[in-house]
Symmetry: C2
Subunit: 355 residues, 2 copies
């Protein structure tokens, strides 16, 4: 007979849609700083692309002095850089917006962190040079399909302004957690734009093109744009760097607890700069106390925080959390509502009952 | 190189809590009538029990003429019965209650269906006889632990009134989908009470005891009781048969769609009787049209229904669904709020946007 002494209990990805595949990381149930590739959230606009990776080549052309086609071997042989990076979908926490918005209803798990290794984009561009009129760099992925708002076929393409693209931490990555990037996360090459929401980190890069104007692809100027108004496009602006944000991992929302002493814990992150402070309220936001940060705050990474809570009095508690970053950004009490539901970063908030 | 032509895309269980393990079935992404054991929702009050299944014996004692201890071989050798049964957690859809209640925040997936095989409880009781004063039968599971509302240790135990217990479809089951019951679902023996919410279907049966009074265990008289009032226990009554209920599997809530023709589809079930009618509204409940039932309605099983929707006009649509059963029960427009959040069965409701 089987040994049932320790039946395996483990979390799984949380399915939001299957075709295309959109599945969240079970963020409340992670006990590692580094998300295993299997539990890394999957966010797709289209079905998975088909290409023959053994013939894979990366062309860089457009407004460059010397257009070049890189083989994977060439890329692997260039000086590399390894960075721990949070990737967070711009639609993370979308389901929390009130009024609710349309689109994939992500909870708090469209976020993962791990170790990306690759070559700086700027190193590759040193091999091609840039013509003076160059303004943006366009990254086209192999994934393509029809969009619900049109009958045209598009590849997933995004651009970066030249200045951003030349930052040394912008990687053409080929490893995740010391392994080739898992296919679903962009094998063989994925752009990694640390600090920006993850729509910028184009998977399965097909080609890189330097242009002298603003790129107008639909994933640049239709999606991944904040539209503050429900009925018109007034006041719109692009989604770029990730907002300062935090998530309470334990306890869970609506959990029933004994009286006792608990370690409330979770993560906090920001796009630009570092987390400097995490504060908690046990009375719905009236009074705040500092949480302990468990590790020195690093650029591009989330920090773990915790707070020892003596839950000695029975009753219902609304627990709120707010993080502050080194640029002075603080999570707001209310989210910035926008029609497509990007960048939710209001105080994280849960309710528990002590009985 | 690997063949990435068809990367596997599949749904997983949806984690609500890990210790104890509570994970939902990805109900929107099932394409079979029978839920594979791996995707069957897991609902536990405690950690998994430890017992040596090779020495497993089932005692039946208390108010019986001849107390007996059954071996598994004896049970397997008795006449068997095989029934397709829906099991649904009484807390299914709990997260939809407004105001929100405490406890595991199940969405719409704490429900699964499959083929259970076992011996009728009544057949076993013919071997022991029942003393005239017998009133209830108590089923104790091997799982035990502390409850959040006390410092005492309890096994998970539930009772059935004699009359219910003697219905021929009440099974001591040993197979699920033609295989031994998966350990997490009650191996080697699980009580199956078709039509009742699944707290009645005790897993890992340790013993069966016949008593002459009402059983007062906490999973009988504290949990699995409807408390209509937030602050007091007035008007309380036990959770028994499952309510008539339905779920729209496709499209998904808040999905964005092209104009076009869609097959809206889902399931409907009821505890006692059969589903006789499923109706859909595409205008938020003002007008209703009948759905097609894809299979003859059977006792204890869910039915699949579908509706061909010509979504030719752009805009937002609130889609509502209500099922009716052969007892005349109809899903209500508003849920019956109760403090512990059982039996949610208001109209299923989603919003989609056609663009």
């Amino acid at each position: 007979m089987k040994n049932f002494d320790h039946p395996q209990v483990k979390p799984y990805l949380i399915t939001r849609t299957l075709f295309p595949e959109n599945q969240e990381t079970p963020i409340h149930f992670l006990n590692s700083d580094i998300v295993d590739g299997k539990l890394f959230y999957r966010r797709n606009h289209f079905s998975y692309p088909h290409f023959t990776s053994s013939f894979y080549l990366l062309p860089i052309d457009g407004l460059v002095h010397t257009p070049k086609i890189f083989s994977l071997q060439e890329i692997y042989s260039l000086p590399s850089k390894t960075i721990k990076v949070v990737l967070e979908c711009a639609g993370d926490k979308r389901e929390l917006f009130q009024p609710k918005v349309f689109g994939e209803q992500f909870g708090k798990g469209a976020i993962s962190q791990g170790i990306w290794k690759g070559v700086s984009l700027r190193t590759l561009l040193q091999h091609t040079g840039l013509i003076d009129t160059a303004k943006e760099i366009v990254f086209e992925g192999y994934d393509y399909g029809e969009r619900p708002d049109s009958n045209q076929i598009f590849n997933f393409s995004r651009s970066l302004p030249i200045k951003k693209a030349l930052e040394p931490d912008i990687l053409i990555a080929y490893e995740y957690n010391n392994q080739p990037i898992p296919f679903k996360h962009g094998f063989p090459l994925r752009l990694i734009v640390p600090g920006w929401y993850a729509m910028a980190s184009v998977k399965w890069i097909k080609k890189i093109t330097v242009i002298d104007k603003e790129f107008k692809g639909p994933f640049q100027v239709v999606d991944y744009v904040y539209y503050p108004n429900k009925e018109n496009d007034g006041g719109k602006f692009s989604v770029t760097a990730a907002n300062v944000n935090s998530t309470i991992q334990y306890p869970l929302d609506r959990q029933l607890l004994h009286t006792g002493i608990y370690e409330i814990k979770g993560i906090a992150r920001t796009g630009e700069g570092m987390i400097t402070k995490v504060e908690i309220s046990l009375d719905g936001g009236q009074t705040w106390e500092p949480c302990q940060l468990n590790s020195p705050s690093e650029k591009y990474s989330w920090v773990h925080w915790n707070y020892k809570w003596e839950a000695l009095k029975k009753g219902e508690y609304t627990i709120k959390l707010k993080a502050t970053d080194s640029q002075g950004n603080v999570q707001p009490s209310e989210p910035f509502w926008n029609r497509k539901g990007y960048g939710y970063n209001a105080f994280d908030s849960i309710k528990v009952k002590v009985e």
